[in-house]
């Protein structure tokens, strides 16, 4: 029985035309592991490549409990209402281990999901770490070709998600909370150096003054760090997503960031850096895939593994033998 041909030209036309259904089908094609879909997916992507790139790609991470989903819903709705087309994607490396979310994301972003200007795509739930990243990057390109001019990429779970999202975002937002003050509340070491903007979230009710104070503390602390983007002083903004309050400031900050980087040439540098990093990661994935596909390779690796387990070889010595060094 012959496989049904994917109608790439038609799909490409409909994606350009703004069909969300076609976009969803295109993404499913990119995510497919079937060999016959692979060529079709690349043909689709190559054809749409000239249409891609015209968005601002905003990476979003946050300390646990910071209200990332609430922020994305409110921020996305504001932009969608203003006529922007907003796509929400997620990077979830932990799903390669656990097979999906444990806390149930089904009720998230309901209002945004129903908005005609919004498109929400959950993270690919299978594949290698590199595979997950590739799919999210290619999905981003398809969304851009479909006219989405704001891409929100959310980090999920443990592992490399922050650095992975930083690697594909133009602007990287970190959501934090107010707190006792003497330690930066719940911020993992190294994350602040990745952020172009910090939001002190839940700045509402009794929390408004504390949020402003926390914002000042972050600003002071940031003076001691190198900025994530050369020439850009990481901004710190108190925001409430429920009032809402401060969301326009966030958007204005991101626009200002873009203008400034475009003027200085930093925008192109960053976009090119993203592509180079992607290519590099893809080469690594392919190398590994090809190596283990070689004839007898798995058996050779298995035999050496056996010797390692029996304490006869160090891992490094086994490597030298495997590669004939």
């Amino acid at each position: 029985k012959k496989k049904r041909q994917v109608p790439v030209a038609e799909l490409s036309h409909d994606i350009r035309d703004g069909s969300r259904l076609a976009l969803a089908r295109g993404i499913t094609l990119l995510e497919s592991r079937a060999p016959e879909d692979r060529a079709a997916a690349q043909e689709l992507l190559l054809g749409l490549l000239p249409e891609s790139g015209n968005s601002i790609r905003i990476g979003i991470t946050g300390v646990p409990g910071a209200g990332k989903s609430t922020f994305i819903e409110s921020f996305g709705l504001m932009l969608a209402e203003a006529g922007h087309k907003v796509a929400v994607l997620a990077i979830d490396p932990s799903s390669t281990v656990t097979g999906g979310s444990i806390l149930g994301d089904k009720t998230r972003m309901e209002e945004l999901a129903r908005h005609p200007n919004a498109f929400i795509r959950p993270s690919p739930s299978s594949g290698t770490l590199g595979g997950v990243h590739r799919k999210t990057r290619e999905t981003m390109l398809l969304c851009e070709a479909a006219g989405y001019d704001v891409i929100l990429i959310e980090t999920v779970g443990v592992g490399q998600s922050e650095t992975a999202v930083r690697g594909m975002a133009d602007f990287f937002l970190l959501l934090v909370l107010t707190g006792a003050g003497d330690e930066l509340q719940g911020v993992k070491k190294g994350i602040m150096e990745l952020a172009d903007g910090i939001i002190v979230h839940k700045a509402d009710g009794d929390n408004v003054l504390a949020a402003k104070r926390t914002a000042r503390e972050y600003k002071q602390f940031l003076r001691m760090l190198q900025p994530a983007t050369p020439g850009w002083q990481t901004s710190v903004l108190p925001v409430s997503s429920v009032i809402p309050e401060g969301l326009e400031d966030v958007w204005e900050t991101i626009r200002q960031f873009r203008r400034q980087l475009e003027a200085s040439g930093g925008w192109e540098t960053r976009r090119n850096g993203q592509l180079k990093e992607w290519f590099r990661a893809a080469i690594e994935d392919r190398l590994i895939e090809r190596f283990f596909a070689e004839d007898g390779q798995k058996e050779r690796v298995g035999d050496l593994e056996e010797e390692i387990l029996r304490g006869k070889l160090t891992v490094t010595a086994a490597l030298d033998r495997l590669f004939g060094d």
Copy 2:
């Protein structure tokens, strides 16, 4: 001028003999990038391999602000006082990006560092991600050969540190704090599935009752998750490192875990799994290293990168060309 020969036999003897100076020199040798040190390091390691493995390897992670260093200091001191030899290592993948800690670790664990039964080694501060892991693993083996029977491996920074440490630990400890109760305070999605034990830390003063309540909440929640180690119900313990209180319970739990796993055969399975994972990661690193060392490879990759940047090729198509698929 000829390079000084590393006296491997002497070093090996002194490490077995328990010399901390020799151990430190051995680790420096493992971390060296000089080609002439590479063979010496492997010779040293292979000779000490039969002496390695006789420790309990405890991975330790925590929500930010959970007091990981304070716990390691108190827990380590208790064990050192009881006659155990305790080594503290760290995995810090973020150091490959930022070049080191920003918050200054110089005053950490001072008392433990001075104890004759303790050995503290900061994380290797350079090298690839894979390189950092390899060095920490090999360092662990040297410490074991030197008679250290408790290895504490600490996660530091953003990135893969939790999964990396889980991958080399027998028992994985997660430190959390008490909190508002309706959300699990500050615990990133996916971390709880990695833990064999959870410590509700800072269970002292006004916080004792809250810590006990939090421990009960975690226990309830854990019933809904698959345990990190088959057959072991993840334990939850309130602990104060300053009183101190509960540290003996932690140690007894870990001993019980070991007994139970040794009886069921799970211990050997886990250790073998660690070695297999390590070998696999090392193969991947070597593949990448070798590929880019090939004649003209960097230029070929550079040319394709150029076409990608000019929008003439998708990353996937460039890959196909590079690998001749």
